[in-house]
Amino acid sequence: MPTDIHEAALVYRGFRYLKLAVLMVVAAVVAYVMHAPMGSPNGGTWLGYTLGGAGALLIVWLAYFGIRKRRYQSGRGLLRGWLSAHVYLGLALIIIVTLHTGFQFGWNIHTLAYALMILVIASGIFGIYAYARYPSLASESSGGMRFDEMLLAIAEIDRECRQASLKLGQEINQEVLRSCQQTRVGGPAYRQLSGTEPDCPTTRALGNVRGLAAQVPAEDAGDVRKLLTLLAKKVELLARARALVQFRALWNIWLYAHIPLSFALLAALLAHIVSVFFYW
């Protein structure tokens, strides 16, 4: 039995909602093929209105999931059912609403609503992928360490670096100080998503200290070696922390498209329905 709620949702009650979604899609396709409307197929025939009505109800109901999700008192089992329905019925919308359009597209509010719906579903599909893939990738790359433990270790290394470099020259101390004071994990969204930090002060310090090590007097060689070891360890810890930040960002970024686009879709859907009957 999958323990993660998102995996559990996909197989919920023996794929109950997958079966429901397939049934709806097959019914819609059969009706579309059998239907011989006057002129060309479009949203204004009886089948067009039926498919459109079903699509609109589904969209509103699936959007309601967002509110539903916030009420945790409904219980994990119920939430799992909702998520399962959200995923499969959301995917079914692609077929149902495409048939509703009768493959008529243009530069208008109607196609805008359709395009927004496709974008919402596409971001949702990425969400399914993200929830299936990134948590396991994150736990693999973390090496059993929690994120706050990594940051604590980095802070500890900073302290040790300063200690080790106290007796060393000014240039080395400057590098160490920059590494301690300017290194960051994450940052703006694009930086978090990339998982890298070009020109990271710590990486630079490691390289520069390595270069300066040759000029250090023999009696300080031990300190320099210790400093280099510490910096190398810090670079490695930083890479892991950044990878973790990247996976967490990738895992969540789709929601930043999915939710605003859903609201855009609701507005476009409202405008689509009202305009069609306003200019009947």
Binding site: M38, G39, N42, E156, D158, P260, F278
Partner: protein, 569 residues
Amino acid sequence: MMKCLVAHETRRTKDAVSRREEEITAEALRFGRGAENEVYLPDPRVPLQFARLRRVGDRLVIQAEGTADLRVNGVVLRTASVSPGDTIGLGPYEITIDEPPEGADTAITVRLVEPLGDDLQQLLARSQTGLAATRLSKRMWSWALFLGIFAVFLALPIAAFFLRGTDEAVSPMLLEAEKPPDSGEPRRWLPIRLDSPWISGEISGPHKFIAKDCNLCHQKAFVQVPNEACLACHKDVGQHADPVKFPLATLVQVRCQQCHKEHEGPKPIIRADQALCVACHGDLKRQAAKTTLMDTADFERHHPDFRPNVMVDPWTRTTKRIGLNAQPREMSNVRFSHKKHLVANGVRSPKGKQKLGCGDCHQPAPGGAGMKPIDMESHCQACHALDFEKNAPSLPHRRPEAVEATIRGYYSALAIRGGVKDADAPPAVRRRAGTPLPVTTTKDVLAWVNKRTSKGVAFAFSKARCGFCHEVRKDGAGSAGGAPGGTKWRIKALVTDRWLVKGNFDHASHTAVTCMGCHKATTSDSSGDVLLPPLASCRECHGGEKATAKVPSTCILCHDFHLSGRGRM
């Protein structure tokens, strides 16, 4: 040598300060991060050797070493003479010169005033490790997109609809007459139409000229386009059937939109599917018991044979639709043999043998759909002369009254002129030409004119002239007392203009086919023959709606829905 009391103050908490003192005896006090310094400043921001404090005479002098500067009482300097009460800034440290206690010649206090702080807290402060901490915002974008789309695509178009000026709701065509000259395009209070994103599809080609004015058709909110909107332009569109004789709901209570779907692209919005017609005409008796029309379902599989509307009695102008299988006869009262005129080696003519083709008589009417009527003067008279006497002018191919009047006029003119060489004529008629006609002879002259007219008319209407082609009767009323202007002779030649009154046939679109391919004229000896091709002949090329190897032909290829003569929609 100087003996110095050095106090190190460390701030533990906000209010608690710990103080450690040491006594140092040295030539000078050296400050720096290096272990060799008398005053050790363990901070990475401090150089290995920072400064040196020594006694010069009875003065205390501080001097910077290396490249770092000092801040003496806030002033950046390299060297300075200091005394108790002065403060020297060395990087993050602050050194105060104190009054020396008993037994020492110098005293200072060293404080770390800018500590490095907690590494973890600083790392956390610099790092944003979740998307929630970034400038991305679900809530802001959700509201912005929702409100933006709501405003642009819903609120503004609705506002524009209710605020539109009356000058926007005019039709360029309908109000043409009432528009003042030079008024140009209707004024708008915005350069674009706010409802343009509502268009559900491209408007059909013929309606594009009104495409910019949605409210010409969409007149009221949430009300379907009314028939009146269409009929405002399409005033003369006819009913499909007489609404009094056939008051069918499917024909009377119908909206234009049910058949004519707009916004489906540039193609015409006329229904071409045969299902529309077959829905009723597949079993028309069930819809309209009184109908005389036959059922049909598909041109290739189920279509009644042609029933031409033939002339059955031209004297009473009676026509009747008779199926081709029932051998209909066109009783036109004209005798004509296509066969005799189309003989291979030609017909006799004043110019010798002349070979005739269909086009010598049958010429396309303007538009090319039908043929011009046959005209005696231009098509027949070159061979079939209408003379009735030598030297007399030819008779007109007109009504019998006109023919008789022409003959009477000819003889009257002869009599008035005189000099007629006719032994039976009275002397007045035979008198020398140009001499006055004596009044006393009028009666004799009139009798001669009447006699000759009646003889001439008998000849003209005989088989030798009119009767050669026409059915001639002599049972007319004539004129009262035989006065000039009337005649007892009657001719009624009525050729049916169109045999197939229910369907449209366009000769111009069939020019690839020869005339004889459809009309078997070379074997027709009688004008009673109805030279229509059978339906099978059409089916050689035309199939039903779903035909794949023939021209797919639905009902409206030949038949119109909106018919004339049955009232307006």
